[in-house]
């Protein structure tokens, strides 16, 4: 019907992202607990920061949703005065763009685990680029850097891929997704009987 995102799509996407913002606050302690060791255990759960994008996309299934979700999630954190303040905004933008790009490459037509994991890897790549630039991670010793990247990739696939798909499935079962999807032609034809 209409092209682009409708008001309902936008508002729902943003609210999903902010709900994730709240969940992050709950998971936050977990992240802090494992972070300061320098051995990058924290990277294993880093992927949860990109989850909003894939979950929102799986629910609404329209172009632009993944990008919007990442921006909304990060600006939510930014406005709430997160310790990682400003950088999350730019990280969000880059991660969202990369995920969006992958989904675009498949014409927004596929919603399976494979594509979602690819999008997760996209976000992961985006975040790594930012880290190289901002965090000098290229200057870590090689074994440590490898550990860092591998952990983050695993984490991305685990959370942004697998866990997001499972959450979206569970949401689908609640029927809430029907609200934001267009009705199918079949449903309209059923009215003629």
């Amino acid at each position: 019907m209409q092209k682009g995102l409708k008001l309902t799509d936008i508002l729902v996407t943003i609210v999903i992202s902010i709900a994730f913002g709240i969940l992050y606050k709950i998971w936050g302690p977990l992240y802090y607990a494992v972070k300061p060791f320098g051995l990058h255990i924290d990277q294993l759960i880093y992927g949860m920061w990109f989850m909003a994008a894939t979950v929102a996309f799986l629910i609404i299934r329209k172009p632009g949703v993944a990008l919007l979700a990442e921006i909304a999630a990060s600006s939510g954190e930014f406005l709430m005065g997160s310790e990682f303040g400003l950088e999350v905004l730019l990280y969000g933008l880059i991660q969202g763009l990369f995920a969006e790009f992958i989904l675009f490459a498949f014409r927004y037509k596929r919603f399976d685990l494979f594509i979602i994991s690819l999008a997760a890897l996209g976000s992961c790549a985006g975040s790594l680029i930012m880290d190289f630039y901002k965090g000098y991670i290229g200057d870590l010793s090689t074994w440590n850097l490898t550990l860092f990247i591998v952990f983050r990739i695993i984490g991305s696939i685990l959370f942004t891929g697998l866990f997001a798909v499972s959450i979206a499935k569970a949401l689908e079962a609640t029927g809430v997704t029907n609200l934001v999807r267009s009705s199918s032609k079949k449903d309209h034809e059923a009215l003629d009987q």
């Binding site: 008001l7 902010i18 913002g21 972070k35 990682f84 959450i167």
Partner: protein
């Protein structure tokens, strides 16, 4: 927005929010291009000064807000200090290797993370979200459907937090077992929270359209957000002081003044 803390209304609150946001993003980009520790420290001081004297919060509140910074500083610098590349070895034990270069680079990263955190906090503490989005619509032409969606969603935050509490309670009443593993537990909470939020967002969007909201139509604004002399002061503050910090750090370095990046040749 930060209901926990409320401070005085200061000149920082009166800065045009779009301008404030762009300036802060500009400073962010500047900061990731600073590779000399002395300048980084100076830069951080400029920002810290504004944070302490400009935001209108009591020192006690500021101290409370700053506690996580110590953590940000340590966590950001530690892995670089312990595992970074470098030639001049100061300490070595198993995989841990602290070199002079990695130590300096680690501290540099710590300051960088610190200044980002403070910049973000300055913005969050002195900007009302509603004003930010009105300003983004007026100065940066953000389409109203995005701006109002953001404002509606921000209004929902406290409602959602309360809802989260209620869901936990309601599930307890139904005698839900707590022994499940973590992911299952998160999912059990995440699903009702998300599906409730989606429904709520949807109803709000419907009621917005029922109130004749149309994104592409011209609209008037309840709040006109403009510019004032304070905006100029704000820009000058950073220009002058950061310039000063740059000059001082070049002429009177008090720390080793080398490029912190690992330049192997």
């Amino acid at each position: 927005m930060n209901s926990l803390f409320s401070g005085k209304y200061t000149w920082l609150h009166s800065i045009n929010p779009s301008l404030k946001l762009l300036t802060i993003l500009g400073l962010f980009i500047l900061a990731i291009n600073i590779h000399y520790l002395n300048f980084m420290v100076g830069f951080s001081c400029v920002i810290l000064t504004l944070f302490i004297f400009g935001t209108g919060y009591s020192y006690k509140q500021l101290l409370l807000l700053s506690l996580p910074f110590l953590f940000v500083f340590l966590s950001t610098s530690s892995s670089m200090i312990l595992f970074g590349k470098g030639e001049t070895i100061l300490f070595k034990w198993a995989y841990i290797q602290i070199s002079e270069e990695s130590l300096i680079r680690g501290i540099h990263l710590g300051f960088r993370a610190l200044s980002f955190a403070i910049l973000g906090l300055i913005f969050a503490l002195t900007t009302k979200p509603v004003m930010l989005f009105y300003s983004l619509m007026q100065q940066l032409k953000l389409p109203p459907k995005f701006a109002y969606s953001f404002m509606a969603a921000i209004r929902l935050i406290p409602i959602m937090i309360e809802e989260y509490q209620i869901i936990i309670n309601a599930q307890r009443v139904r005698g839900i077992e707590q022994k499940n593993h973590l992911l299952k537990k998160i999912e059990r909470l995440a699903i009702p929270l998300l599906s409730q939020s989606i429904r709520r967002a949807y109803r709000i969007a419907v009621s917005m359209e029922a109130k004749r909201f149309q994104s592409n139509r011209k609209r008037t604004f309840y709040y006109e957000v403009g510019f004032s002399r304070n905006d100029l002061i704000f820009l000058c503050y950073f220009f002058v002081l950061i310039g000063l910090a740059y000059l001082l750090s070049n002429h009177y370095p008090f720390l080793p003044n080398t490029d912190v990046r690992y330049l192997s040749d």
